[in-house]
Subunit: 185 residues, 4 copies
Amino acid sequence: MRATRLAIMLAAAMACGPLSAREAVTYSANVTEAEVLAAQQAWGQALVSISKAYESGGRTAATELAGKVIDEAYGYNLGPVLFKPTLTQAPQTFRTTRDGALAYFVGGDEDYPNDTGFALKGWTKVEIRNAAIHINGDLASTMGNVILTNKDGTTTTVDKTWNFKKTDDGKLRIVLHHSSLPYSN
Amino acid sequence: MRATRLAIMLAAAMACGPLSAREAVTYSANVTEAEVLAAQQAWGQALVSISKAYESGGRTAATELAGKVIDEAYGYNLGPVLFKPTLTQAPQTFRTTRDGALAYFVGGDEDYPNDTGFALKGWTKVEIRNAAIHINGDLASTMGNVILTNKDGTTTTVDKTWNFKKTDDGKLRIVLHHSSLPYSN
Amino acid sequence: MRATRLAIMLAAAMACGPLSAREAVTYSANVTEAEVLAAQQAWGQALVSISKAYESGGRTAATELAGKVIDEAYGYNLGPVLFKPTLTQAPQTFRTTRDGALAYFVGGDEDYPNDTGFALKGWTKVEIRNAAIHINGDLASTMGNVILTNKDGTTTTVDKTWNFKKTDDGKLRIVLHHSSLPYSN
Amino acid sequence: MRATRLAIMLAAAMACGPLSAREAVTYSANVTEAEVLAAQQAWGQALVSISKAYESGGRTAATELAGKVIDEAYGYNLGPVLFKPTLTQAPQTFRTTRDGALAYFVGGDEDYPNDTGFALKGWTKVEIRNAAIHINGDLASTMGNVILTNKDGTTTTVDKTWNFKKTDDGKLRIVLHHSSLPYSN
């Protein structure tokens, strides 16, 4: 009889004790808001660090550090990054390759003759003001203002958009970065 | 001079006050563990409710309720659902259509002559014991035991796997459901 | 004996004929490149259409059409949209609400006094040149140039980033849109 | 004047030639149906290979190969795998760890005394018949029958569900696997 076949003893069920819903292990590949905010802060700190490395060790030190920052914080290991830096112009507006990103941050690359090194401008502080944040699986998008302070105390505000992707190692990487100066008429 | 062009006044930055990271609105399409556990509980309660509807209102009442439950809790509105119920057999093992699911739960469909109505078996309690949970974007997967108690106090344990998808309306829907009796040699 | 219990007859297997891998139904929630390119074209055509509606029916006609376009092509029904239009300024740079988007496109909203209506500028043609495209589940990101031609034949190039999300109804919606004039030093 | 500021020369636009939509690089993290079907075939071939390794090299050879297969084809490197093998029983039904999976496939592990080695049963052919397939970002789900043939020509049909996750290296890994013998009343 089917009812008999279906009947599994309570004793057996009790043996499954460790598998209660409360104790179950949950593995998530998703990004959290806290991770996004931390990744933004890390980007700001990295920019300040490259400026400091430039002051103390010149372009060589800055370039070495910037290379590490790009490898750590950007997703060039995954594929082309959608990067439109604040100050680039046609025909080199978009920096989908690691070389293009490094040239933008520290200059000194003859293939990118207009790049003077954005990260070398003596930045001392970076403040991030998000208009809103989207989280969609392992991808998070932010848009808002970033206020950069340099050693003279001058501030520069940019409109900035980021897409961060959480990779399998649990790190967030920038896979899209569009930065622009505010429109002025 | 570029430095001059870059300089945006602190006053302007201050005007952006509302956009602090802390106050930014975060919109997430992701499933949470709490939502998954709630959807599992809802499934169990729905099964018990259909059993009760059958007792008080017969197959007509049970079928009406089961239809609502399927429309609410399963993803047949999205496409074929990967549903392997506990007691189905070839050539009707897999119930990728709404009709096939409804027939399994309440029987009475001549196209599914072997279906007697799994939800009509007098279930009074459903306990869920997750072995582990995966969360991947808007999709969550669970695997574990589900222990069903009927009105005689007999329990039936099944091995059950679910994929829940969070749809745009914020609801979780079952898009994959594999249930099987424990193996016995 | 286990071997006996395991043995399922070939006859039964044959009965499963319809379920061959080749014939199986595949349901995908993912965005395709073709859908992304089509959504970009649709955005351009919509902009041109609003310009035409303005010419023939004035701001009333343009506003009505723009409202439909926003409801169709943007994701304000999902939550705040990350929208930084080309010509907006602090403190109204970011248009996370539908009202803010509509004001930008057609103006005439006293809450957005600086908006004159970007879509009313006589656009006749929109060309899109992608630097690269990312596809990540139901989300696609594009970055590149958009070249707008108006009725005088003047062209305007903008640097533009979009995130499109494919919703459950199969439509792509813009959930992030960052547009900026090229940097000039 | 705004119109002047907006006007970007056609010449500049022409310089962006390489960035046409058609030539843009598209990077996708999504699973394709072809990848899913290939991963299923690879699983079947691996099972046959372990059986062959057992015949020619005994349990040592089979265990070595099975370990490689698990490391290659399953996602234990990501977290707990939701694995309910065909023939396991409480309290060791679910094999969320690599050790539990290896024990199931090749036996010989005193911590899993009931495991005799499913992959050692002389399998010579594996046929997969999908009822349907879901694709959701980097995750694909399949459900259907798998028909296993052993060297005696006996076939065993199982009801099988898989979730495959495409990891950052482009490989598909099984993160969920529920297999069960068909229900018989």
